[in-house]
C-alpha cells in the first residue's frame, strides 16, 4: 500500500483546471459565432472551418513528430488556432488558400518559435496577414450572406463563384472619403449586429460573438481587462470622431458591432500567449489594440484593422511586460 504513496512539493492539491479545459472553453465560446456563420454562409463556412481545423491539427502533429516531442494535440490549442483563422477568412476563400494559411499559422508562426506558449505573434492573425499579402483578391471577396441580398453597393468585381458586396466597414470608409452618407451606412447597424452583412466568416454577427465572449468571462477563461480596454478605447475614439464630424464618421456603436472588433476583443486579443502578463500590462495592451483598430479604420487605407492592430501590439508585448513589473506588497515595482 505504501508503494502508492507519492511525494512532491506543496501544494498537494490544485484547481480543476487544465490548458485543455481553457482551450475547450474558448472553443465553446466560439460555437455561437460558428453557428451564425453556418446560417449566413451555409456549407461554405462549415467547409472552411473544417479544413482549417484539420490542417492545423495535422501540421501540429507533424511538427511534434519531427521535434520528437510527446504528442500534445490533446491541449486543443491547434483547434482554437484553426477556428479563429477560419472565422477571419472571407467565405469565398479558395480552400487551397485556407490550407496554406493553416500550415503557415502552425508551422511558421507557432512551432518554429517553440510551440505553445512561446510564439510572439498570434498564429491565426499572422497567417491571415500572410494570406492578405499573398492572395489579395481572394482575401477581399465578400460574399453576400445567404439569408439576405441587401442594397449595399458593389465595390469589388464579382468573382466567378460568388455574389459580392461591400462590408459595412468598407462602406463606412466610403463615407469617410465622402463617397457615401454616414446616415445611410448607419441604416445597416441592426444587420451588422445580428450578422446579415458581408464580411469574414465569423465576424459578421456581433451578437453571437458577444454571447460567446460573455461565456468566457463568466467561466473566467479570459480576464475582463483586455476586452474592456479594447471596447473602451475604440468606443471613445469613435465617439470623439462622431461628435466632431457626424456627417462623415459613423456612430461609435456601428464601429463596435461592425467588422471584426468583437471577435478581436474577446477571442484574438485575449490570446494569453501573446498578451502581457500583468493586469496593468493587459489594460495597456487592450487600449493599444482598440486605438490602432480605429486609427487603421479611419486614417488608414484598409477598411478594417483588427488583424494589424493585434499583430502590432503583440510585438509590443515583451516591452509592456518589461515596463509593467508588478509591485510587491509593501514595496515599489523595480524597473
Amino acid at each position: 500500500m505504501l508503494s502508492q504513496i507519492i511525494v512532491s512539493p506543496s501544494p498537494h492539491t490544485s484547481q480543476d483546471l487544465t490548458t485543455r479545459r481553457v482551450m475547450a472553453d474558448v472553443i465553446i465560446g466560439l460555437v455561437p459565432a460558428m453557428l451564425a456563420s453556418a446560417v449566413f454562409f451555409r456549407v461554405r463556412a462549415v467547409l472552411v472551418i473544417g479544413v482549417c481545423v484539420v490542417v492545423c491539427l495535422v501540421s501540429e502533429w507533424v511538427c511534434h513528430r519531427l521535434r520528437r516531442r510527446p504528442n500534445l494535440l490533446g491541449d486543443l490549442s491547434a483547434v482554437v488556432t484553426g477556428i479563429i483563422l477560419a472565422l477571419s477568412l472571407p467565405p469565398a476563400v479558395p480552400l487551397s488558400v485556407a490550407v496554406i494559411g493553416s500550415v503557415f499559422a502552425i508551422v511558421i508562426v507557432k512551432m518554429l518559435f517553440g510551440g505553445l506558449g512561446n510564439n510572439v505573434f498570434n498564429p491565426a492573425m499572422a497567417a491571415r496577414a500572410f494570406l492578405t499579402a499573398s492572395f489579395g483578391a481572394a482575401m477581399t471577396t465578400w460574399t453576400v450572406p445567404a439569408t439576405l441580398d441587401a442594397a449595399m453597393p458593389k465595390v469589388q468585381a464579382s468573382n466567378v463563384e460568388a455574389v459580392t458586396q461591400a462590408t459595412p466597414l468598407a462602406w463606412s470608409k466610403m463615407a469617410l472619403k465622402g463617397q457615401a452618407k454616414a446616415e445611410q451606412v448607419q441604416s445597416q447597424l441592426k444587420a451588422a449586429f445580428w450578422g446579415q452583412v458581408g464580411g469574414c466568416i465569423g465576424e459578421t454577427s456581433a451578437a453571437a460573438l458577444l454571447l460567446g465572449g460573455l461565456y468566457l468571462l463568466v467561466r473566467r477563461t479570459i480576464a475582463y481587462h483586455i476586452p474592456l480596454a479594447v471596447l473602451l478605447s475604440a468606443g471613445i475614439f469613435a465617439a470623439v470622431g462622431w461628435l466632431l464630424k457626424p456627417d462623415v464618421f459613423v456612430r461609435p456603436d456601428f464601429h463596435l458591432f461592425g467588422g471584426g472588433l468583437m471577435l478581436g476583443a474577446f477571442f484574438i486579443a485575449t490570446d494569453p500567449v501573446t498578451a502581457p502578463l500583468s493586469v496593468r500590462g493587459k489594460w495597456i495592451f487592450g487600449a493599444g489594440v482598440g486605438l490602432l483598430i480605429m486609427l487603421i479604420r479611419t486614417a488608414g487605407e484598409y477598411p478594417e484593422g483588427v488583424m494589424y492592430a493585434v499583430l502590432i501590439m503583440n510585438a509590443f508585448t515583451p516591452l509592456i511586460d518589461r515596463l509593467c513589473h508588478t509591485a510587491p506588497v509593501g514595496g515599489k515595482p523595480r524597473v
Binding site: V7, S14, G117, N118, P272, G331
Partner: protein, 456 residues
C-alpha cells in the same frame, strides 16, 4: 442583504475547505506510544545540543536539548522513560537531522490531558512581570505553532530597536482540512485569552486584535462571549476577516486586520506589530502559569483516506505511523501523506517521521483529492495566462521567478523578488499548465542560500 466590505488582502484563492471531516470532533488524548523521536531542530534558528546521554532515564518535562544561541528553543521529554539512542532521524521539513530516541516506560505514562478548565474569567496577568513571562516562554521551548516555528520569546520580547504596539492573534486557520486551531478556540477559549493577555503584557502591547475567518462563527462567538465577561485594561477585540487562503499568513492578516502593509521582505515588528497563533497563546498560558514545557500539541488527523479522522492531543515526537495506527490506519486509496495541510504541508514517504512542535495536522489525501494532473506531475508549457499574478497575495510574478530559477538565473529571480515569496502555493494551485511554480521558487531559495554559504 449585507454589503459591508469584508476585511481581507488582495489576491488569494478559495480552495475546497473540507473542514467537515473533523470540525465537530472534540480534542481527544492518545495513548502514549512506546517509542518517540525528538528532533533537535524543531524551530527556526540554532539547533539544540543534546543534554542527555544514551541509556539515561528521563522524566516528563525534562529538557533533552538546548542551545545557547538567542534564536533557539529547548526541547523537552513528553514521557517518563529512557534515552535509547541519539542519532539521525527523518525530519518532515529539513530531510534528516539529529534526534533523541526515547523509550517510554510501560507503567507510569498515562495519556496527558489538556487542562483548559484551570483558566477562567478571574485570570490576572498582572501577577507576572514581563521578564518572568519571557523567561517562562523561553524555558518551555515555545515556538510559533502555526507552522513556521520561530522561537516565541524572540517575537514577544520587547526590542528597543523595533518597539511593538499591537498584538495580532491569528485564529484564521485558512488551510483546508485543518481544524486544530478551531477546536482549541472553542474548547480552550479562556486559556487562549490568558495566553494572549500574558503575551500582550510581555510585549508591552496595549492593542490586541484577534483575527478569525468568517467561516468559524462559533469561534467568533466564543471569544466575544469571553471578552464580554473578562475584566481587563488592554484593548482586545475580535476582527472577523474574509474566508480566503492564505488569510492566516501574517503579512496578509496584518493587511486584513490593521490595513497596514509590512515592507517587502520585512517582518511585522518593523511596523510595530507582533503576530501569534492561537495555539501558541494557549501554550504561553500553560508555560507561564504552570511552568509546563511544550511537550504536547493538538494535531488534526484528517482526509478521505483515513479511517477515523479527529483532533488529537498528541505527544511531540510520536511517529506518523503510530498516530495513523491510532486513527485506524490508512485506507487503500491513500495517495499522499502530508504533515500539515494540503497547501503548505510537507509530503512524507517515511512513516517513522516524528511529529514536531510546528505540525498541526496530518492530512491523508486520495488520488482524487490530489487531482490527476498534480498526481502524475505532468507540467505543460506556460501559456502566460497571468492567473498566478492575479492570485499572488504578495503581488509577485511567480511565473517569471520560476522560469528564472529553472534556468539558474538567480540574479534575475531576485530582481523579481524571489525572497519576498511566502510559499503559500496559490500560484501552483491555479496554474492550468500545472507548473510547480511554488516548487521552483522554493528550490530557488535553497540555491540562493547554498550560494551565500559557499561565498561565506
Amino acid at each position: 442583504m449585507n454589503f459591508t466590505v469584508k476585511k481581507t488582502f488582495k489576491g488569494g484563492i478559495h480552495p475546497l475547505e473540507n473542514k467537515h471531516y473533523t470540525e465537530s470532533c472534540p480534542i481527544e488524548p492518545v495513548p502514549t506510544p512506546r517509542q518517540l523521536v525528538l528532533p533537535l531542530v524543531q524551530h527556526i534558528g540554532a539547533p539544540c545540543k543534546p543534554l542527555v546521554q544514551k541509556k539515561q532515564a528521563v522524566t516528563l518535562g525534562e529538557p533533552l536539548g538546548r542551545s545557547d544561541a538567542y534564536v533557539s528553543a529547548p526541547i523537552h521529554s513528553p514521557v517518563n522513560g529512557a534515552v535509547k539512542d541519539i542519532t539521525l532521524a527523518s525530519h518532515p521539513v529539513i530531510g534528516r537531522t539529529m534526534a533523541v530516541y526515547l523509550e517510554a516506560n510501560a507503567e507510569d505514562n498515562l495519556p496527558q490531558r489538556p487542562q483548559p478548565e484551570r483558566f477562567g474569567e478571574e485570570f490576572d496577568p498582572g501577577s507576572f512581570t514581563p521578564e518572568q513571562i519571557c523567561n517562562a516562554i523561553q524555558e518551555a521551548g515555545l515556538v510559533g505553532m502555526g507552522g513556521a516555528g520561530f522561537p516565541t520569546r524572540v517575537k514577544v520580547e520587547p526590542n528597543p530597536a523595533m518597539p511593538k504596539h499591537t498584538l495580532v492573534i491569528n485564529g484564521c486557520e485558512c488551510e483546508p482540512y485543518i481544524t486544530c486551531d478551531y477546536r482549541i478556540m472553542l474548547e480552550w477559549t479562556w486559556q487562549i485569552l490568558a495566553g494572549v493577555r500574558l503575551a500582550a503584557r510581555a510585549a508591552g502591547c496595549q492593542t490586541v486584535r484577534i483575527g478569525i475567518e468568517d467561516n468559524k462563527p462559533e469561534a467568533v462567538k466564543a471569544f466575544e462571549q469571553a471578552l464580554s465577561r473578562c475584566r481587563r485594561e488592554e484593548d482586545i477585540q475580535v476582527v472577523v476577516v474574509k474566508t480566503k487562503y492564505p488569510q492566516g499568513g501574517e503579512r496578509q492578516l496584518i493587511r486584513a486586520v490593521l490595513g497596514k502593509q509590512v515592507p517587502t521582505g520585512g517582518i511585522p515588528p518593523q511596523i510595530g506589530v507582533c503576530v501569534l497563533n492561537v495555539a501558541t497563546c494557549a501554550a504561553i498560558a500553560e508555560a507561564v502559569v504552570f511552568r509546563k514545557p511544550l511537550t504536547h500539541r493538538v494535531v488534526t488527523v484528517t482526509g478521505r483516506a483515513i479511517a477515523r479522522p479527529g483532533n488529537y492531543y498528541v505527544p511531540i515526537g510520536m511517529s506518523v505511523q503510530d498516530l495513523l495506527a491510532h486513527c485506524g490506519g490508512l485506507t487503500e486509496r491513500a495517495a499522499k501523506v502530508v504533515l500539515g495541510g494540503p497547501m503548505m504541508g510537507f509530503a512524507i514517504a517515511d512513516m517513522s517521521t516524528p511529529l514536531t512542535k510546528t505540525c498541526g495536522a496530518l492530512t491523508v489525501l486520495t488520488r482524487e483529492d490530489v487531482t490527476e494532473p498534480q498526481y502524475v506531475r505532468q507540467q505543460t508549457a506556460c501559456i502566460r495566462c497571468g492567473r498566478c499574478l492575479m492570485v499572488c497575495p504578495e503581488g509577485l510574478n511567480p511565473t517569471r521567478i520560476a522560469h528564472a530559477v529553472k534556468h539558474f538565473r538567480m540574479d534575475l529571480a531576485e530582481q523579481y523578488y524571489l525572497s519576498a515569496c511566502i510559499e503559500c502555493g496559490s500560484c501552483s494551485y491555479v496554474c492550468p499548465a500545472h507548473i510547480e511554480l511554488s516548487g521552483y521558487i522554493k528550490t530557488g531559495k535553497l540555491l540562493k542560500a547554498r550560494e551565500k554559504k559557499r561565498l561565506g
